[in-house]
């Protein structure tokens, strides 16, 4: 028994099956995490190697090169990039999307173990670092304090970090820029000399005092007591009263030679929130956890914690990634509801019957909810891709039900009982319904196979549309006939219950039917004219391409602007601070849209992991501005960014700067926040640093003068001045010294020597000795540093070494083992496509030596790669659709005729993009690919029916006119449901809408245009082909007749 007849015969079972699907779908919905983007693990793994004391060039030759040589041979590798800086080598291996990262990291481990032998002795073991989406902070809080600032470290650790870490799903909670308490011992070198002491001796003396040593045990009668010497400092005050030496019977106290303070470490970091001192608290999630839920839990917990904190400690939210996700998702859910309403309106306006409308609309929840089951089982999340897929599907899932119901109604009007009509009418159209579904699946299923970054967008879209469409077909073949058999009324019912609304609707559409037939008759008489007109419209639309901008992904207004300002290197942090405070003031006054300003200068530690990701130094000011949400302000982040750029021009002390709307400069945040504009990157590859610097400089200068290019900057830092101490080894040796002794002596005095740790309430604080700041102000002061040799003799640094000012290259970057300098710039008022053209034109005029390669990278390269992928996909899908249709029609001719609607879909997309001022990008590219399926669907219905009528004995013209009249309404109806389902998407304005608006615009434009054109052009092409066939057959007949007569 067939699906539909068993469905009609077992209505309860049918109902229960679909209720089961809905219940499972709703159950899944509760457990699906909500996120912005589909899960995409960035397929890159970094290898980080510390080599303390080595310069960038040493690191490049001794660490980066041997490692790169081994890593370069890895499988599935896309490229290896590296950055060699002082003390640290940072190599990133980028793999193809979709590879097994665990396997890749094992391979990397093997490669490293091979390279390790070649690494220098002092070099630390390379460590592997895997990127993952869970590393992106879910929330960043700023914590400010006045009086409690000194105790902030302890308050944060005990009262905030511990509590937040216990929340389910929270990965790590880390703190940036927290004040560190130390016991600071500043020694006066002249006093040291006068007592004939060295810093090391003082340090050893302090360390020797702070001791707690078990001394065994003694037995006293029946008891046993452990014995312990306890010299641990009972309070920090003890330190200054320690005796550090005995100078001829006179005790030398530490306070005699040094100032001792229980204070905060003098850090080279300055973190401010809205201009007042504070630290940043970063909450990261465990991988796979629900960002929105975690953010909600953390916010609630923080609100609780706030009450328990001292009154001067303020906790402010700096960043909440969940807000953007939440509002994007809410926007899209709203769009989904509007789409549903529009589809419902279309159905009721075409059918005029509420019972039929109800039956058709019921397929929407059934098929859409089915998609949630898929998301749950496949472990995916609800994100903007999966929700847009649902919006796309909503107008298409009703199509099958419409076709089935239309035929059932026809049968009922001919006098069948609803019960019988349901079964037989469904059987009549069952095959056609399955065929159109196959075409749609032929378009969307290949999307699931796309690799690369585009695949991340396409995969879910492909799966969701394929699944919902398949489900909708199943529902149309079972649920729809079942409900029709129960709900619809027979012909006799309507004799007694007149439906005036339906009659009005029928009259209205009858008018359109007649109009269409009249125009169709006219164009059939003027085929050449019509074809020429259509052809010129198509060619003309291709000409529009020149006027439409091209970009990779649409820029998003995510309410964030990052600003980076650099003052000349070598200037003290105080200079940067003064600049930062002034700029903060100005920005806060001038832009009321900015609700939060968070500033950061310098880094915690020179060689920390963060420094590899973010450029930070004491001469760099990093701002992060948070703005009100996009709906609440009149200026976009891009406009504000342009205005801020002008403000920066007023500061003459700034050597370079960039304003980064959306925060896309930082590779990590760009991949996950999905915001901001497009960056243009020109890579200059070549070994000679001076040569490549010169070329990069030239490119940067030409770009600066071009309109549209903003914030042109060069990735290789300017050479930095260092004071370097060059030892005189002969002299050192004569004094029984070596370079290492000299180096540590200088380090202890300038950087500091940790003498011991002072313990208080279970927490340890460093006791740090160093020279007085007043005695370290010039090169001479370093020369005057004295230390003790092995023979007890005092040695002056200036006597055994020379101090020189040296310029060093602070960072050397490689790409696939070749040195590279990148010229990066933001685009404003122009698009990637034209920017690429400008750069190519400039490069052609430049004189570039043979040993230097210049290429365009960044978003422009991604764009070129993606457009190539899209073209391939487009061709593949055209072929697949042809295959499906050819086998459905058992003909090579009909699919070809039907394919004529595709070019006009493309025309429609271009016209829509041009009118709305949108760009050709990844998203509108997807739309064009999808339109192949959506556009041919209409023509399939039309051509199939005309074929049917021809077979039933009509002449070609009769068949075309009659078929057109009878199919006009179903075609308009299915097109308008899809089209109006997309309208809310095309018009949406909220946060994150920039991404999917081009999709809506393209599909609305493409579908509308292809529908209009295919209703006219496809019949003409059909008749041309049919005429040709008739002529051919006539000739054949005549020839056969001739043959017969010849035989006679």
């Amino acid at each position: 028994m067939s699906l539909y007849s068993s469905a009609v015969k077992n209505p309860i079972t049918t109902l229960m099956v679909f209720i089961g699907v809905i219940v499972m779908g709703l159950y899944s919905l509760f457990y699906i995490p909500v996120d912005l983007m589909p899960d995409m693990d960035i397929p890159s793994i970094s290898v980080i190697t510390f080599y303390p004391g080595a310069s960038a060039e040493d690191i490049e030759v001794n660490v980066t090169k041997p490692l790169e040589n081994q890593l370069n041979a890895l499988q599935n590798l896309k490229k290896v990039t590296s950055s060699s800086k002082d003390n640290i080598s940072f190599i990133t291996c980028e793999f193809e999307y979709g590879i097994n990262l665990d396997e890749a990291s094992n391979n990397i481990r093997d490669a490293i173990s091979l390279a390790e032998k070649a690494l220098p002795d002092g070099c630390e073991k390379p460590s592997i670092f895997k990127f993952s989406s869970s590393m992106i902070p879910v929330l960043i809080y700023g914590i400010q304090a006045d009086k409690s600032y000194a105790a902030l470290e302890k308050i944060i650790d005990e009262r905030i970090v511990e509590k937040l870490s216990r929340i389910d799903g929270v990965g790590t909670v880390s703190i940036i820029g927290k004040p560190i308490r130390i016991i600071d011992v500043k020694v006066d070198p002249r006093k040291l000399d006068s007592y004939n002491l060295t810093l090391e001796q003082v340090g050893a003396a302090i360390g020797a005092e702070n001791i707690s040593l078990p001394a065994g045990r003694i037995e006293v009668g029946r008891m046993e007591f452990p014995v312990r010497t306890n010299g641990e400092f009972s309070s920090s005050d003890v330190v200054k009263n320690l005796v550090v030496a005995n100078n001829g019977g006179k005790l030398v106290y530490l306070r005699d030679i040094a100032t001792v303070k229980d204070t905060l470490k003098h850090v080279l970091v300055d973190e401010r929130i809205n201009g007042s001192m504070g630290v940043r608290l970063m909450v990261q999630k465990q991988s796979g956890a629900n960002t929105v839920k975690i953010a909600r839990d953390v916010r609630r917990k923080v609100d609780e914690i706030k009450k328990e904190l001292p009154s001067d400690v303020q906790v402010v939210k700096i960043l909440d990634t969940s807000e953007f996700i939440q509002s994007s998702i809410n926007n899209l859910s709203e769009t989904l509801i509007y789409a549903f309403v529009f589809v419902a309106l279309v159905v009721i306006l075409f059918l005029g019957r509420w019972r039929s409308t109800f039956i058709i609309l019921l397929t929407i929840p059934v098929s859409l909810i089915g998609a949630f089951i898929y998301l749950y089982i496949s472990g995916n999340s609800i994100n903007i891709v999966s929700l847009s897929a649902l919006v796309i599907a909503i107008g298409m899932v009703v199509d099958d039900a419409i076709v089935v119901l239309e035929n059932i109604t026809t049968h009922i009007e001919r006098g069948s009982s609803p019960m019988e009509a349901a079964v037989y009418a469904t059987r009549e159209v069952g095959l056609a319904v399955i065929a159109t579904t196959l075409v749609i699946v032929a378009v969307f299923f290949p999307l699931t196979l796309v690799g690369g970054l585009t695949g991340v967008f396409f995969r879910q879209l492909g799966w969701i549309v394929s699944i919902t469409i398949t489900l909708s077909t199943l529902a149309a073949l079972s649920l729809t006939p079942m409900l029709s058999s129960r709900i619809l009324k027979g012909k006799t019912y309507y004799k007694h219950h007149r439906n005036r609304f339906m009659e009005a609707v029928n009259r209205f559409w009858g008018f359109f039917d007649d109009l269409y037939v009249k125009s169709l008759a006219w164009v059939l008489k003027h085929k050449t004219l019509t074809l020429i007109a259509a052809g010129s419209i198509f060619v003309g639309s291709l000409g529009l391409v020149g006027f439409i901008g091209k970009e990779f992904t649409p820029a998003q207004d995510n309410g964030r602007i990052n600003v980076n300002m650099e003052i000349p290197q070598g200037l003290r942090i105080d200079e940067a601070k003064a600049l930062a405070r002034d700029f903060e003031q100005k920005v806060r006054q001038k832009y009321p849209e900015i609700v939060l300003v968070s500033t950061s200068i310098g880094t915690d530690e020179g060689g920390s992991l963060m420094s590899a990701f973010q450029k930070a130094a004491s001469y760099i000011v990093n701002y992060s501005f948070m703005l009100t949400s996009a709906d609440n302000r009149s200026r976009s982040i891009f406009e504000i960014a342009d205005s801020i750029r002008n403000d920066i021009k007023g500061y003459t002390q700034i050597s370079s700067s960039y304003v980064d709307p959306g925060g896309t400069r930082n590779a990590m945040s760009a991949a996950f926040s999905g915001g901001g504009g497009n960056n243009m990157e020109v890579k200059v590859l070549g070994y000679d640093i001076n040569q490549t610097n010169y070329i990069a400089e030239q490119i940067a200068n030409t770009l600066k003068s071009e309109k549209g290019f903003r914030d042109v900057s060069i990735s290789r830092d300017k050479e930095r001045m260092e004071l370097q101490i060059f030892p005189d080894r002969d002299k050192l040796a004569q004094l029984g010294l070596n370079t290492s002794m000299l180096a540590s002596a200088v380090r202890n005095r300038v950087y500091g020597l940790t003498a011991t740790k002072y313990r208080e309430e279970g927490t340890e604080y460093d006791v740090i000795l160093k020279y007085n700041d007043a005695n370290l102000t010039s090169v001479t002061d370093i020369e005057n540093i004295t230390f003790k040799g092995p023979m007890g003799n005092m040695v002056r640094v200036g006597d055994v070494a020379k101090i020189k000012q040296v310029y060093t290259t602070p960072n050397i970057e490689h790409e696939n083992k070749i040195r590279v300098v990148k010229v990066v710039s933001a685009l404003s008022g122009t698009d990637l496509g034209s920017a690429t053209n400008i750069i190519n034109a400039k490069l052609a005029t430049m004189n570039i030596p043979n040993n230097v390669i210049v290429e365009i990278g960044g978003a422009a390269k991604d764009m070129a790669d993606t457009f190539k992928d899209l073209m391939l996909l487009f061709v593949l899908i055209l072929i697949l659709t042809y295959i499906v249709m050819a086998s459905q029609f058992e003909s090579l001719r009909e699919p070809f005729i039907i394919m004529f609607s595709v070019p006009f879909a493309v025309t429609g997309v271009f016209i829509a993009l041009w009118i709305t001022g949108s760009t050709i990008n990844l998203i509108s590219g997807i739309a064009i690919v999808m339109l192949v399926g959506i556009a041919v669907k209409n023509s399939i219905v039309l051509v199939d029916f005309i074929n049917l009528l021809v077979d039933r004995g009509r002449t070609i013209t009769q068949a075309i006119l009659e078929g057109g009249k009878s199919r006009l309404r179903p075609i308009l109806m299915t097109s308008f449901t899809t089209l109006l389902g997309m309208i809310p998407l095309a018009l949406s304005k909220g946060e994150g809408s920039e991404t999917w608006r081009p999709l809506g615009i393209s599909i609305v434009g493409g579908l509308f245009f292809s529908m209009m054109i295919s209703l006219i052009i496809v019949p003409i092409i059909y008749s041309l082909f049919a005429d040709a066939r008739i002529k051919r057959e006539m000739k054949k007949l005549q020839a056969e007749a001739g043959e017969i007569s010849f035989e006679d």
């Binding site: 001919r414 006098g415 009982s417 019960m419 012909k491």
Partner: protein, 97 residues
């Protein structure tokens, strides 16, 4: 005894079955899927893509007095659903075992 052969669009199955029941006919033979076309009007029922509908056929041998009653019901069906197609043919039965 007369033989009544009813050829009708499958979509009318339910109605024909009812007509037999109401006319008091118990015994019958039925071909559920049958191809056919009418002589003067109506669509062919060929189960093809062009003509997707199909016929059913019911052959019943009834007492003479039930024939008119049955034909009356069939005619009623034809009146309501003439476009679907239904025909009944009657001839004599000479012997039966």
């Amino acid at each position: 005894m007369k033989a009544v052969f009813i050829a009708y669009n499958q979509a009318l199955s339910e109605k024909v079955d009812n007509a037999l029941k109401v006319a008091g006919v118990k015994g019958f033979s039925k071909w559920a899927d049958m191809l056919g076309a009418g002589s003067d009007k109506g669509e062919p029922h060929l189960g093809t893509h062009t003509w997707p509908s199909m016929n059913s056929g019911t052959l019943t041998i009834v007492d003479d007095d039930k024939v008119d009653k049955l034909l009356l019901y069939i005619n009623q069906i034809n009146k309501v659903a003439g476009e679907q197609g239904i025909h009944a043919f009657v001839w004599n039965i000479e012997k039966m075992v």
